[in-house]
Symmetry: C2
Subunit: 213 residues, 2 copies
DNA sequence: AAATAAATTAGGACATTGTCCTAATTTAGC
DNA sequence: GCTAAATTAGGACAATGTCCTAATTTATTT
């Protein structure tokens, strides 16, 4: 593993643990028995380092989000993997708003992939309708509403979990938000679709957090 | 207006414009023709200042979120006001995750009010069921799912809008997320409830963003 | 193998940040 | 008008990201 790779790899770990803005360049360097100047040689600014990490997550999700999504089970399983990817790079999701709203480079990068993701989501929904798992009434504005729900959940579940469900395990948390996702599809699910949602939820069952106090 | 009040008032403005972490204590002081030492006299740490702003929003929302919520219209109108309150203190919502996950004081404060809000939400839903606007099938785990959807939306709509819908007006943005909110209730709405949702959406209609490109 | 060029590492300097401390100044109370 | 409190000003501190230059290591060429 090259120095640059070690740098990124350890940065992700430390950023995940303590948050991007709470891990200094010197701290990262010291952790790897390096000096600051050495880090800035590979990544002149901290944003450059973050940008590298962003690309890694984007690539990972691009592999996960395929074009085909014939059933609800496929769809939810795919998002399960997306959630795990995001957890692996949770530092990004937890700082995304600040990163994007400040840095034009982040913003441009984000807009491009976001538009693609939204379009992919539409196509997934359409194919679930075609395969008779979702009702044909899911058209027009209703599609956009479902898409909006799903993007909101998949973008902020980690943030909410961080502040509201701190004592949950990762598996519990992911199960909870997958449950929410399935809940968004449910109103449009056909009988066959409902069966799939039920099956998926049964698999979730063991992980779902029990108590609401 | 006392010096302290002027300080808080201007801080909210600057924080809203540029983000809490991007407005320095010296910048705030200079804006009011003061010096840093003078600011720290009233607020020894920046977190103290933020905490004061947090209390203001909490008080404002406490006034808005009443115990009675007999109809869906009432419910959605109430949340419309909540959204406007949040917009008024948007700097907080945009930095909440970092604030809460770092500072134990914020966290404790947040947990207490959050539990109350969630409980209030359950009671609102129950009263809408009682008044026959929502189906009696809305019980148990389903209530918790609806509550989870609503809390997610009302906590992160501003964050998402900041990064995804930057070109929308405030009214458009709020209309969009109120639409999402109503969409969560819709599957459980009775015929009478559906009428209310329709009416509410008609009022929204003019503000709702048109294009999804 | 030696010399030269390139890549990498180290270390210090800079402006900026939040925070703290002390002295100066203003205000209020008697 | 004097004393004490409240307020304001100003400097100092450690820590941050960033930048720049010198030292050192590694690779390439002669």
């Amino acid at each position: 593993m090259s120095t640059k790779e070690k740098l990124v790899s350890r940065a992700v770990e430390l950023f995940n643990e303590n948050g991007i803005e709470y891990v200094g360049m010197r701290e990262l360097a010291a952790d790897l028995n390096m000096r600051v100047g050495n880090v800035t040689y590979y990544f002149p600014t901290k944003d450059d380092l973050v940008m590298e990490i962003i690309s890694q997550l984007r690539d990972l999700n691009s592999k996960t989000i395929g074009p085909d999504c014939s059933s609800i089970i496929d769809f939810l399983s795919m998002y399960k993997q997306v959630f795990h990817n995001q957890y692996q790079y949770r530092c990004l999701l937890l700082s995304f708003v600040h990163l994007v709203s400040r840095h034009p480079l982040f913003a441009g990068n984000y807009f491009a992939t976001e538009a693609k993701r939204r379009e992919a989501l539409r196509s997934h929904l359409a194919s679930m309708v075609k395969n008779n798992y979702l009702s044909t009434s899911l058209i027009g504005d209703k599609v956009e509403l479902v898409v909006s729900h799903i993007t909101l959940i998949s973008r902020f579940w980690l943030s909410e979990a961080r502040i509201s469900y701190v004592n949950w395990t990762t598996e519990q948390t992911i199960a909870h938000y997958l449950n929410l996702l399935s809940d968004i599809l449910l109103p449009y699910a056909t009988d066959e679709g409902k069966k799939q949602v039920d099956n998926f939820r049964k698999e979730l069952g063991g992980d779902l957090p029990k108590t609401w106090k």
